[in-house]
Assembly symmetry: C2
Homo-oligomer: 308 residues x 2
């Protein structure tokens, strides 16, 4: 299976241009810097991969539109990227998706279809056939992985002696791209994934050296709704090649990290995006960068953690 290369990621930086924010590194404490992808136009890193995937489609293909299924942030990213390119987008989301994410996706002009969690991939495939549109997968695609990898390029450019990069893990597209970039530019930097204990399938898989599947209903227990997917063969191969370790954090640690980020870094970060800071706070280390993957959280959930 062909892995994404540093050249693919450099090309993605060119393709993405100003469609994504060049997020700064923000100092959090003596050991930790934050990479706040929550500040992207869609509130998540997903715009990088989605935009890169659309940019690489032939123009006539792109013009027929795009389809995506997603737990939320990828949906918004594809909708936003399609708007920038002026092409139609239809988004299939599970009916458990936070309302704030559905509203935001529609606000970008996309058609949104809500279905039960288990049927979203099937429904998306049907839409591809019905409409002649192209499926933009949330993580299982080299162009998506290359787009997310641009985060790794920026981290090493801004903090060349970074010792550890902490990255949330769900389907694995983000960590695949980031690890590919970081290991190419700074081989001695550790790349460590972070999962909720309640959705720790990738951590278990990496230790076992083979993909271990957890039931979707188990993965759905965590408050980190963006981290309920599971790796694909493609992303798992990247993880085996480039990721040093995957650690897990408790629900309590995730909530406390959301609160600390609000109070100390003045950032609204969703639980999925705060797992990296939760891991750092449990075991602080030197010259560490925590990727904050997104900030789309229902205000009621956020308010609950604000003083946690």
């Amino acid at each position: 299976m062909g892995l994404v290369t540093i050249s693919d990621i450099r090309a993605a930086t060119e393709s993405i241009g100003n469609a994504a924010v060049r997020t700064p590194l923000l100092r959090f404490d003596d050991g930790l810097w934050l990479k706040p992808e929550s500040l992207q136009p869609v509130g998540a890193f997903k715009i990088r991969g989605a935009y890169n995937a659309l940019a690489r489609l032939p123009e006539d293909v792109r013009a027929r539109g795009v389809v995506a299924y997603s737990s939320g942030n990828h949906a918004q990213a594809v909708a936003y990227a399609a708007k920038l390119f002026g092409v139609p987008a239809v988004i299939v989301v599970p009916d458990t998706t936070p309302r704030v994410k559905v509203v935001a996706t529609r606000s970008h002009g996309a058609e949104v279809i809500q279905v039960p969690m288990a049927s979203r991939e099937t429904r998306a495939a049907e839409l591809v056939v019905e409409r002649g549109a192209t499926l933009i997968p949330p993580f299982d695609h080299p162009d998506v992985i290359a787009g997310q990898g641009t985060i790794g390029l920026e981290v090493v450019a801004d903090l060349p002696d970074v010792a550890t990069v902490l990255v949330p893990v769900s389907g694995g597209g983000l960590i695949s791209g980031v690890a590919t970039a970081v290991k190419a530019l700074s081989p001695s930097t550790r790349v460590v994934g972070v999962e909720p204990e309640l959705a720790g399938d990738a951590a278990e898989s990496l230790r076992a050296g083979t993909l271990i599947r957890w039931p979707a209903e188990d993965r759905a227990r965590t408050v980190a709704d963006g981290l309920r997917a599971e790796p694909s063969e493609l992303t798992f191969e990247h993880m085996r090649a480039y990721v040093d370790d995957i650690v897990t954090v408790s629900e309590e640690e995730i909530g406390a990290a959301v609160g600390r980020l609000a109070r100390q870094a003045r950032l609204v970060v969703e639980p999925s995006g705060a797992v990296t800071v939760a891991a750092y706070l449990a075991r602080p280390s030197e010259r560490t960068v925590a990727v904050l993957s997104g900030g789309n959280v229902d205000p009621e959930v956020f308010a609950r953690y604000l003083s946690a």
Copy 2:
């Protein structure tokens, strides 16, 4: 009275270097970009002016330490800058300062003295005499103004065709620096100050063409605790020279802007920092940049506005 020049501001960019974050412009909607100074290490733009002022002191003078009086964010900035230079700092704050700001200031290693609002300048002056330290004023100093002006340089560099820049106004250091930079680089760009209606002394003064003083107890009514100071002769001269208008916003508009910024931009912004977005939302305009001056807000106050 000599005004700060664009050369002073360019020099400040060099002096400040990496002590302040090069904040990105974040797209908020079709017409508005945000300049999130809430992401600075001290949670406010004040680090720029404070650091520049310390950088320009002769080394032997700086070594004897610095003194500041402030409603909060300037205090943290001077404390933080002093820590970076390895010199002592003593900070005089009014006893109405939000607890979160006092704790943060102490966390930077500064000595904090709380006094009644009216006596803070006097007490600071006494400390200068007692300790041989240098007073770093919150706004009434060319080096402070030049430091804040680096924000204006960055805004024009990132959005060269910016039509309007909205800037919070309190003592006027921020808008003096920003307006000086913006008008030098892009004379046709409008620079508009924003104040709370309840502390609208600068707006009234600019219309009158002369400084009109409001009683401190009147200015203290607004929730925007960082906007309760009044301009000095020096900052008012900059405003008369470079500021096109100063508008005011209600307390309700300020609270709603804090909530919108949390939900839509994923930023924790203090009421004082959100007045510019409040002004934009009341009267949207094209190619507008809102400077968000800071993000140091007590969690209880922030939670109240989260769904506003």
